[in-house]
């Protein structure tokens, strides 16, 4: 079954297609959830909520852009909603001590594994982690991030830069 047929079947509430869609994307979406969550349990909650939203709003997917991209946005929005609800986006203690002017060796990213990178991202305070994920991984602009998180663009830029420096520092320490 190709992706379009699978999506159509899910739009028709075909249970077996829903299951197949879940099995196709669950692990990737779990990775997304883990990047935004403070814990694995929280990530599992995001995953569960995210799939429920995917299946309940799949009718709105109109084949513009990749389906996986659409799904990722659903999961990111689900995570943001939960973080906002629990007031976790303001959590950025400890980053002020970083020197924002410090240059980073970005090539070091290639020297660590994806799992190690995931672990380092998970160490970031949730507010900075969220901005970092949205900008660096999902590709949102600072304007979009500011709107989504109800912060100013400059705050988004500042938090992103600080998160990036901290991550770089940890990567260098890991090498």
């Amino acid at each position: 079954m190709n992706e379009k047929k699978l999506i159509e079947a899910c739009k028709n509430n075909d249970a077996s297609a829903q299951k197949l869609l879940y099995e196709t994307f669950a692990r990737k979406m779990m990775s997304v959830c883990l990047r935004y969550a403070d814990s694995r349990e929280m990530a599992e909650d995001f995953l569960q909520e995210g799939f429920i939203k995917v299946f309940s709003s799949i009718q709105s997917y109109n084949y513009e852009g990749s389906f996986e991209g659409w799904m990722r946005r659903v999961f990111v929005n689900t995570a943001l909603e939960s973080l906002r609800k629990n007031d976790l986006l303001r959590n950025g203690i400890g980053l002020d001590s970083l020197d924002p002017q410090q240059e980073a060796d970005y090539s070091a990213v290639d020297k660590i594994s994806a799992d190690e990178l995931m672990e380092l991202i998970a160490q970031l305070p949730s507010g900075f982690r969220t901005v970092f994920n949205m900008f660096a991984v999902e590709g949102y602009s600072h304007k979009e991030i500011a709107q989504a998180l109800n912060i100013t663009e400059s705050t988004s830029r500042s938090q992103y830069t600080r998160a990036k420096k901290l991550l770089q520092k940890w990567i260098n320490e890991l090498e």
């Binding site: 079947a9 028709n12 509430n13 075909d14 249970a15 077996s16 829903q18 299951k19 879940y22 099995e23 669950a26 692990r27 990737k28 779990m30 990775s31 883990l34 990047r35 990530a43 599992e44 995953l47 569960q48 799939f51 429920i52 299946f55 309940s56 980073a104 970005y106 090539s107 990213v109 290639d110 994806a114 799992d115 990178l117 995931m118 900008f135 660096a136 991984v137 590709g139 990036k164």
Partner: protein, 397 residues
């Protein structure tokens, strides 16, 4: 800015296709909360009405099957009536009406047997009279006659020769009757066509000596027990019980094809002129079904199916509980036959998803079993159109 782009590319390259393991039971938790079930309910409203109607019809059919006169009931009346008329005229009330008396039992008349039973004859007679079931084995022998003999031994010794002659006549008559009975196929055909198939077939098999079902009792030349050579059976069948392991594959939305193996256990109790007993049969079947799932609620789904099945006989046995164990004994007798039993069936079922695609299902079914000319009597032969209950595990792929 350029550095930012490089960094983002490096991060995305690392994480874009990254996957993390997911707990196995996560789907069940998601599926349980899916709005799909509510949507399905809306869509399936008319279907539900349709299926409720179908279920009502099915229930009616099942009830009809249950309440329909069984072959046993049908077979008794004409055969019993035909064959017992003469006996009734010669037997006293105390030893009368056994329902399954055979032709050989009818021949001797009351006066023939009441002349002079010897001592060795009296013992089986006494046994027979003390056993209501055995009444058929002693046509016309009356207790009063026996008592008379005991009171007057002189007369008995004088009549020994007469008795011997009478017994020879009795044996001869019985033999002639028996030969006449089994060379004439009409009664057998009549029985087969009359749904009283158990009587006809079992008696036939027993007499011909080909039957695997013949009673274990016949080990005597005592003419008074000759009737046991024609045992007639009456079966009471229990509901078939099946356990299966099947696999299904979806080929369209809500449609699946299923096959696998199903073990079936058949249990029957029988009564015969040789005594009572029980019968156990074991089959391994290969079904093939087309399934339509018409409703899903959380982890449960409901479906209807039609299909066929080939049941292969594994083993079986009868356990006689002979009324005269000194002669007939009591024990197991293995049954053998080779014919495959084909059937068609329709099911409705409920399935509960246990893990991933593994389901536990329970399905009542109605089935029609095609005659396979087996010598074994079972519920499929006696009630070709019957119902059952299947409990099993199914996995999809």
């Amino acid at each position: 800015m350029i550095d930012d782009q490089k960094f983002e590319k490096a991060i995305r390259a690392k994480l874009e296709s990254h996957e993390s393991p997911v707990r196995d039971d996560m789907w069940a938790a998601i599926e349980a909360k899916l709005p799909q079930s509510t949507v399905t309910k809306k869509v399936a409203l008319y279907r539900r009405i349709l299926w409720y109607s179908a279920a009502a019809v099915a229930a009616g059919v099942v009830a009809t099957i249950i309440l329909w006169p069984s072959p046993e009931q049908v077979m008794q009346s004409p055969l019993v009536t035909d064959e017992t008329v003469e006996v009734k005229t010669t037997q006293p009330e105390s030893v009368q009406p056994h329902e399954w008396i055979t032709a050989a039992e009818k021949t001797p008349r009351k006066e023939q047997l009441s002349i002079s039973p010897t001592e060795e004859m009296r013992e089986p007679i006494a046994q027979v009279q003390s056993e209501p079931v055995a009444a058929v084995a002693t046509p016309s022998v009356e207790k009063t006659t026996e008592n008379d003999q005991l009171d007057n031994p002189t007369q008995a010794s004088q009549e020994t020769e007469a008795y011997r002659r009478e017994m020879e006549a009795f044996e001869k008559a019985g033999k002639e009757l028996k030969e006449a009975k089994w060379t004439d196929e009409t009664p057998i055909k009549k029985r087969q066509g009359n749904n009283g198939i158990r009587v006809g077939l079992m008696a036939s098999n027993s007499t011909s000596g080909n039957s695997k079902n013949s009673a274990t009792a016949v080990r005597t030349k005592n003419p008074l027990l000759m009737s046991r050579r024609d045992p007639v059976y009456k079966f009471d069948h229990s509901i078939p019980l099946s356990v299966g392991l099947t696999a299904s594959k979806g080929f369209a939305k809500n449609w699946e094809i299923e096959s696998g193996v199903v073990y079936t256990y058949l249990y029957s109790k029988y009564r015969s002129t040789n005594g009572n007993g029980s019968q156990e049969l074991h089959y391994l079947g290969v079904p093939i079904d087309i399934i339509y799932r018409f409703a899903r609620i959380k982890r449960a789904s409901f479906y209807a199916a039609v299909g066929g099945q080939a049941d292969f006989y594994l083993t079986g046995r009868q356990k006689d509980e002979g009324y005269d164990e000194g002669i007939s004994g009591s024990g197991y007798k293995k049954l053998e036959h080779e014919n495959v039993q084909f059937s068609v069936h329709a099911n409705v079922g409920a399935a509960l998803t246990l893990y991933k695609q593994l389901e536990l299902y329970l399905e009542p079914h109605v089935a029609y079993y095609i005659e396979n000319n087996s010598s074994i009597h079972n519920i499929w032969k006696d009630k070709p159109f019957n119902f059952g209950l299947t409990l099993g595990l199914r996995t999809g792929f």
